[in-house]
């Protein structure tokens, strides 16, 4: 029998996801996943879904049919790291202050966020940290990784890239218009 491509996470994957979330966004965010199981869709990258226990138990029971998807895709695992994506950011955004507020919608087109686009950030960040991006309208724009640390910001030029965008990855909500799925 072929190995399933949509399966419940292994213990190691669970640990990686939880530890990354805690390290990047704080302990508070873990509570939102309490009544959920993570599921993995194997592919070029491993897509991670958060599935309510009730659905998780049911799809475990239906072992002869494999879901295409279940629950909400929250991120992906590649090169042994967990990367948060749009809907993961949406779920945890009320439980963390790891956010920057931006005054541009450019990020929704897969474009980078420059220093000059930032209105404020709620918490200091280090290079390579994941940060949730929010518009001045308080709406979620997406998530990305810091190219520099917040301590360096004051000494850098206005056109320094703080967070890279991506047209190819589900990091900003504009993804839904780019035919993302």
């Amino acid at each position: 029998m072929n190995k399933p491509t949509f399966r419940i996470r292994t213990k190691e994957e669970n640990k990686l996801i939880m530890e990354t979330l805690e390290a990047d966004f704080g302990t508070n965010v873990l509570v939102v996943f309490k009544e959920y199981d993570f599921w993995i869709k194997e592919g070029k990258v491993k897509e991670v879904f958060t599935v309510p226990k009730k659905s998780s138990d049911l799809i475990t029971k239906i072992s002869i049919l494999e879901p295409y998807s279940a629950g909400i895709p929250i991120g992906s695992i590649s090169s042994n790291s967990f990367h948060l994506e749009i809907e993961g950011a949406n779920i945890i955004s009320n439980y963390t202050s790891k956010k920057i507020i931006v005054k541009t919608v450019q990020f929704l087109y897969g474009k980078p966020i420059f220093k000059e686009n930032i209105t404020k950030y709620e918490e200091n960040f280090d290079k390579n940290d994941q940060i949730i991006v929010i518009g001045e309208n308080k709406l979620l724009y997406g998530v990305g990784r810091a190219e520099i640390s917040s301590r360096e910001l004051s000494s850098l030029k206005e056109n320094t890239i703080v967070i890279k965008g991506s047209r190819k990855k589900p990091l900003d909500v504009g993804w839904y218009l780019r035919g993302g799925s």
Binding site: S55, L65, S69, G71, P73, N137, G174, Y176, L177, S181
Partner: protein, 356 residues
């Protein structure tokens, strides 16, 4: 016909075809309609042919509606439906979403029937590209599409089947009505359409749904008994000519009969995996009796189910068509005609599975 439209018409007719390229088919149809109304009062067949319908379709509309209402229907099909949206309580309160949209200059009008439904009366922005849309605060959805999930009335703890699910307008509505509790099993045969289903489910914050890319006619493989099932079957689409004018010519009577067989087999399987006393809502966006009352009639003959009343406006199902006399209780089904409802055409039936 007012002077303005006469002037526009004259300009359009005098300009080269290149200019006309900038106008969509819909506008061309409208111009045709204006032209037609300038001339003598056509009879319904002439009007049908001028508007590009295959003659057999007009025959059938007349059989269903009579001549004068057929004229109303095909004239209405040349107009544009008001845009409408469904506000998504899984993402934001109706009040907040409404406030945000109003702030952008988007004017909304409440629908007296469903609190989640709004007509867009004015919008300075493309309504399918706002950050609010991308955050899943609403779904672009014809107002009549809200009936099937509302009629199914899914409850928080239930196991619901949505057996022809993509792109998920109705799946996401079911999840909203269930407050993201319980479980929805959404089946979709096409891989491409599964992608758009998954995308809509994520955007709208739907947690309680598992998608399976498969033929719903194999639903018994789940070995599950569903509390309720929504079956929004593939159909010939004659109820949505207003949004897809190509349907005036694209389907033959043979196609309709093919849909009939396919729909009967989908409905038969779905009923097999429905709990005793479970409810199933069957719907199409077709006006053809073969895809509607005749599907239900076939099923009533062979399955242990009964039709249930669905307190919805619209015309009762047809019980006489051509030389056929159908069960009287098919009047419990509903036909929503575009010209009567100012919305997409729909047929809706609710079946309840009897005790064994």
């Amino acid at each position: 016909m007012n002077l303005n439209s006469l002037v526009i018409l004259a300009i359009l007719r005098n300009y080269s075809n290149r200019l006309l390229l900038y106008f969509d088919l819909k506008l061309l149809s409208k111009i045709k309609l204006i032209e037609l109304s300038l001339q003598k009062e056509y009879d319904v067949f002439e009007l049908g042919s001028k508007l590009g319908y295959l003659p057999y379709m007009i025959d059938r509309f007349i059989e269903m509606l009579g001549e004068s209402e057929t004229k109303e229907l095909i004239k209405f099909n040349e107009t544009t439906l008001p845009q409408s949206i469904r506000l998504n309580s899984l993402r934001n309160s109706f009040e907040n979403s409404e406030r945000l949209l109003k702030r952008k200059g988007i004017q909304l009008e409440k629908n007296t029937e469903f609190p989640e439904s709004r007509a867009i009366t004015k919008s300075p922005h493309p309504i399918g590209a706002t950050p609010e849309y991308l955050n899943g605060f609403y779904m672009l959805q014809g107002k009549n599409s809200l009936y099937p999930p509302r009629i199914l009335d899914p409850q928080e703890g239930e196991l619901i089947g949505d057996f022809a699910a993509a792109p998920g307008g109705k799946t996401t509505h079911l999840a909203q009505l269930m407050n993201n509790k319980g479980v929805i099993i959404a089946l979709e045969i096409s891989a491409n359409r599964c992608r758009s289903l998954k995308s809509n489910l994520s955007r709208m914050g739907v947690e309680n749904t598992a998608v399976f890319q498969m033929d719903a006619r194999n639903a018994k493989d789940f070995d599950l008994q569903f509390d309720k099932i929504l079956l929004d079957v593939p159909c010939s689409g004659s109820g949505i000519i207003i949004t897809d004018p190509t349907r005036k010519k694209s389907k033959s009577l043979k196609d309709i009969l093919h849909y009939h067989d396919y729909q009967v087999s989908l409905l038969t399987t779905a009923l097999n995996v429905l709990k005793t006393n479970g409810e199933l809502v069957y719907c199409t966006c077709s006006l053809e009796p073969e895809e509607n009352e005749l599907v239900i009639s076939d099923i009533l003959k062979k399955a242990d189910v009964k039709l249930s009343e669905i307190g919805v406006k619209g015309k009762p199902g047809i019980t006489k068509f051509l030389d056929m006399d159908l069960e009287k209780n098919l009047t419990k089904t509903r036909r929503l005609y575009p010209h009567e409802t100012n919305g997409e055409g729909f047929f809706i039936a609710k079946l309840v599975k009897n005790d064994e």
